[in-house]
Symmetry: D2
Amino acid sequence: MTLPEKTQLLSRTIEHIDITEIDVVPLVEAMRRMSFTARDLARAAEIFDRMLRDDGCGIILCLAGSLVSAGLKKVFAEMVRCRMVDAIVSNGANIVDQDFFEALGFRHYIAEERLKLGLDDGTLRELHIDRIYDTLIDEDQLRVCDEATQRIAEGLEPRPHSSREFIRAMGVFLEREHLGAGDCIVYEAYKAHVPIFCPAFSDCSAGFGLVAHQHACGDGPKVSIDSAKDFYELTQLKVKNTTTGLFMVGGGVPKNFAQDIVVAAEVLGFDVPMHKYAIQVTVADVRDGALSGSTLKEASSWGKVDTVFEQMVFSEATLAVPLIVGYAYQKGAWRDRPASRWSTLLESVREVSA
Amino acid sequence: MTLPEKTQLLSRTIEHIDITEIDVVPLVEAMRRMSFTARDLARAAEIFDRMLRDDGCGIILCLAGSLVSAGLKKVFAEMVRCRMVDAIVSNGANIVDQDFFEALGFRHYIAEERLKLGLDDGTLRELHIDRIYDTLIDEDQLRVCDEATQRIAEGLEPRPHSSREFIRAMGVFLEREHLGAGDCIVYEAYKAHVPIFCPAFSDCSAGFGLVAHQHACGDGPKVSIDSAKDFYELTQLKVKNTTTGLFMVGGGVPKNFAQDIVVAAEVLGFDVPMHKYAIQVTVADVRDGALSGSTLKEASSWGKVDTVFEQMVFSEATLAVPLIVGYAYQKGAWRDRPASRWSTLLESVREVSA
Amino acid sequence: MTLPEKTQLLSRTIEHIDITEIDVVPLVEAMRRMSFTARDLARAAEIFDRMLRDDGCGIILCLAGSLVSAGLKKVFAEMVRCRMVDAIVSNGANIVDQDFFEALGFRHYIAEERLKLGLDDGTLRELHIDRIYDTLIDEDQLRVCDEATQRIAEGLEPRPHSSREFIRAMGVFLEREHLGAGDCIVYEAYKAHVPIFCPAFSDCSAGFGLVAHQHACGDGPKVSIDSAKDFYELTQLKVKNTTTGLFMVGGGVPKNFAQDIVVAAEVLGFDVPMHKYAIQVTVADVRDGALSGSTLKEASSWGKVDTVFEQMVFSEATLAVPLIVGYAYQKGAWRDRPASRWSTLLESVREVSA
Amino acid sequence: MTLPEKTQLLSRTIEHIDITEIDVVPLVEAMRRMSFTARDLARAAEIFDRMLRDDGCGIILCLAGSLVSAGLKKVFAEMVRCRMVDAIVSNGANIVDQDFFEALGFRHYIAEERLKLGLDDGTLRELHIDRIYDTLIDEDQLRVCDEATQRIAEGLEPRPHSSREFIRAMGVFLEREHLGAGDCIVYEAYKAHVPIFCPAFSDCSAGFGLVAHQHACGDGPKVSIDSAKDFYELTQLKVKNTTTGLFMVGGGVPKNFAQDIVVAAEVLGFDVPMHKYAIQVTVADVRDGALSGSTLKEASSWGKVDTVFEQMVFSEATLAVPLIVGYAYQKGAWRDRPASRWSTLLESVREVSA
């Protein structure tokens, strides 16, 4: 068979859901007295609402999977704008390959049903189209994104940076280039001083930019990404703001990393409480013993998560996240919630002058 | 109810399966002409055997999940000893919290059935026992492990290190302390010059050690972990050894990271082929769009994995990995396979003198 | 620990969601241009809406799992009332143990979180409380339900009956006893002449009633349940109304049974088309090769389901079903859809007089 | 693309694994002290071995999914021959469409990898090839199988039969036609007087035969399949042999049906114990609340399964079943186990003369 042209394949764009326009409260409230996932979801939504009402509770949003390309970008950008989140811990893909990528003017596309099956991936390869299950990306545009991160690296002081520092520089870049309009998570977080951490930062488009940067620098001074610094910084936030809640979408490194800061604070000699709240949306199975699907009760044996207000929701994220965030948005607790501007707790004089 | 004493709970040790003692070839061959997972597993075993027979093909083992604590340590140590693997990309937990931890003289324990359910996690917390599904760990011993990594950090030159460099230093430490006997992956890899990468290295026990180190150093010079350097190093290996195969256990960052080096090599201007072989053992669902469960066909659209010899196996790892590795071990292709000593391609004079 | 009294455990009732009161159209429409489950769900909702608008298309609703006890009873009852379904194929549990059970005046209850873990099931056993994951049932009330089915059996002519005939008699019973008020699926279907089939009818509360009936009859004449007659009757409906669509919630016997009538019609010499529409909500994995998770494309190789309008939705039912049915309800195609009264096509003179 | 000819597609046959030839004991014993599925599988194997050693314990094997077509036929036939099972409860597909089908001289075939993806199902449809995930069937041969069941129906007395009676008649048919050689479950069970029940018997190839039979009989006397009689018969076996164990492969109707006989016995006024042993191999998720994935602890709240010796194994069946059965086979407890010949407890004079 002959596939259509690249422009035909990349013609229907992913559109991001706008939870401010849809009232999901009656739906979520009706789910409260049902069974199974419906009830779990309603309880998770209530716990998130409760976090927002708990004075001084810092909220850490953890993102794994391909969420931004799936149409959830506006949800997370809105959370930043509405002071519903104080820090973000994410895989690199959501932040760089998808969010920053769209800020550069690019888009994600709806794949035709037959492409999902995998038989045409050879053709996609020839056309420079990358596939995420049912979603398509122009690979040539991804290369532009890689290069932008390389340029940002070149503009930084040649020393170890946390991923948070680098992502803040991405925000500066977007402002300077007038590219932050719309619903860019990186830009909204930059403006609101919400720190974003990617503990495996080289595992994304920025990794390509950084490898190119380090390659170009040879043995000379260069920018490096210090993942230990990430961990240290996030731990400092826990020390400075001891009451915390986690909103985890997917599992993986972000889930483990954010949970671990309780232990890290202890290691540094600070007596901090476990995360007071924890909700997770995931379809990972508990039975393979991996962290992604491990229960939040299990995390309590590690001293990471308290078990009074914890809830796992067995659902793919595109279904559950708009309902949970939409519920809390409509309930409006964020209106009275002050901006925490956590980045300001971390930025040294040197950075600010950079 | 009253739980037994800590010593009672931590009395039955996890024992690592020894695939050199069990002949699984008749079983795997019988599975070849069945359906579903049996056939897929047999095909994966054959592809792994084929990788081993392919002259010059470098094999990268990717580890995610809690595999070492589950009794698979000896399998991976054997793979290193028998030249069945040329590089390892892992989450930090397998390498530091579990493998290095056991080298320090500690063990993992079988949890009673009722502990799996989560109701007793509060008591475990009080007893300083951590739980991984059906497996228990003495948390006080984990703190000793954290401290050992801190001491290792203190012994390193205060500059950015790749996780590979740090893990090599862990091997040096084990040798110096006469702790490497038995089946330690870190030590066997150190001796065989097999590099181990943990792209999210601070997301494990070493992270605690590093945070403590950096905290103690204050504004002074300190060790940092440069995840970009990890990516650069692994990419260099792909450039120097262009034919490669992946053996992935679980998904997550290791899967993505190892796949991405094909693209990274291209970004640096090298024209390298996709990974020629790829097998993955996972129970992750493809339908949430996340990388862990994404098909290897999908990876071919990204130009990362060739599709002639790829096979996914839908199974929890403790069941499938001994069969796949055991089959290839018994088939014996490793006997004629030369040691690649990939670490020597990466170690600069400075390191060697360190 | 001491569990609370039975009355305390059975105090918070499951409440059934009312999709007529909640406008989900904006939500579902926003999901149309997202990825993963959101997009699949939106497409399934549109396919269901399209079925309703297709003149002469008969719609068969297939139910597996514990859906009625989970709070979906009113959704299905509403579908019957609003002429959105022409026949139902279900496991016995939904129809007898849960729907008919509630019509007898009984309820389902919300289980406390800790009960889900299974550690207290021994105590529940002592208290005569049955558990479905997070939902509780008074076992003594279930025995009353069993007995009611025995009484219904005793009132029937001693001959082979299809499950449809028996369930119709349950409707007659409810009418006579003035028990059908509210949202009883069995009763609404009885009034609307919508046939309900349970192909494994003895695998539920009615099975207990029938065993008791047959035991009491000894060697004398007795009521029997002829599952072949079920299959014959449903096949006749396909022959008489050749354009059909399937709305499957879960998999199992109902999915297979309803798909098979296309082949059965062929076996009888009728040339009927495949099911024109098919949507399924399930979390079953495709990789175990079982029917429940098998794709609707696979069904097309069997000549059962056409592939133009088919969509699987990877979600637990309590989340997806209210959105799909709610969307179609609000779109209102049912208003112009005539009642099909399919039972009247099957009822012989003998039955009507019974 | 053009697909190859039908004969080419149907050229590589599925071969059934022979557990008597493979010693899996060292493997299973090594798994005993690992974690996750390996440990669960080893424990399930030990529980099965224990059942076999428990004097007077009746063992009921429950089969759901496509197991026979997947290459497990010989395993189950061997279990019958070696007195490792006293009754079988199955979906119809395994017994009629797959086991009886192969006894008629037909085979199952290995599908090429690309056929799994579903894109070629339209072509398969044209070629009269049916697909089960990665396995192919000649649909024309399935029609021969349907017709054979019709002929068997025609040879029976026109009255309600349990599926067990019908399947016994299938054994008689195979004997008369000299078709039972090899590893036919139906024929081995017939010879060993092991009853086989299919509680949803019309949901398979036999359903097509029965529909054709009933259609041909019109209003005259005809064979019917009484699923209540199935339930009554299996319950009688529980009453006559009160100590019982369940070996469940997959979930669905067979799991529920076999568990329910404890309650049915109580309904009839007999005080019988719960199933003393229960093991289940499944990948079904517990979180959708459906019976297939529900824990065996949950079943204890219903008074169906005791919890001292119960174990679920999270694995696709083709991997786990040969290990569990192979372990028990090699351990040899079956050698001293008497044949129970349960069918003889059920066969009335009338049947024997039929």
